[in-house]
Point group: C2
Chain length 127, copies 2
């Protein structure tokens, strides 16, 4: 018998909540990353790789990487998840921790973090 | 011969740019709306209607309406468009100006506007 991973536990907890008819609200994040000078495009490449990795993780509904028209070192990331637990579990998706280790030295700072509850609109699954 | 609308002009301009091989960058917006006290859910309903109206407008890639887990009067809207011109033209989509007129009295303020260039990731069309 293999031990449960954190992801197994999270998926099971979500399943139990769903069976009991309790609503699990979506989890949204906006945030800004400022790259070390001259490293914005290298960081952007890592973040687009991150988008591919976690885009396949259970419960990832949106993961969009943006540059800024006015701040050459800035990136923005906007995310929508089926639940906060799915977001937390995505750190265990294959390759994610390795990618964080590679990206971290390129990051001068993170700021402007906003947590939301995505409700609906174009680009979100219905329900 | 019918006169050109603003939307015709915008669509034509985008087409000409595309034919010339010039890149048209995407246009992204995050922004916060604060409802008049007690009016958050009424404003939310209008904004979800707005999402349906402009979600069908040419060039609308994402239009997501969010509530806040910490601020009961707040809504966030995140948008991604094929171009800034498509975003501007969406004001002429059927019903949009009427909807703005209905929503405006429910809005106490708008703030925290961030303009971005959406580059890629889960939820955006490729390219």
């Amino acid at each position: 018998m293999t031990p449960w991973t954190r992801r197994d536990f999270v998926a099971s907890a979500i399943g139990l909540l769903a069976m009991r008819g309790l609503s699990v609200t979506r989890f949204g994040l906006f945030g800004k990353m400022t790259a070390q000078p001259g490293q914005r495009d290298a960081l952007l490449a890592h973040m687009l790789t991150a988008a591919r990795l976690v885009g396949d993780a259970p419960g990832c509904e949106l993961y969009v990487v943006h540059t800024s028209p006015t701040e050459p070192d800035a990136l923005w990331v906007s995310e929508a998840w089926r639940s906060e637990a799915d977001h937390a579990a995505s750190l265990d998706a294959p390759g994610v921790r390795e990618l964080i280790a590679k990206a971290r030295p390129l990051i001068a700072g993170m700021s402007d973090r906003v947590v939301t509850v995505p409700v609906g609109g174009k680009g979100l699954p219905v329900g």
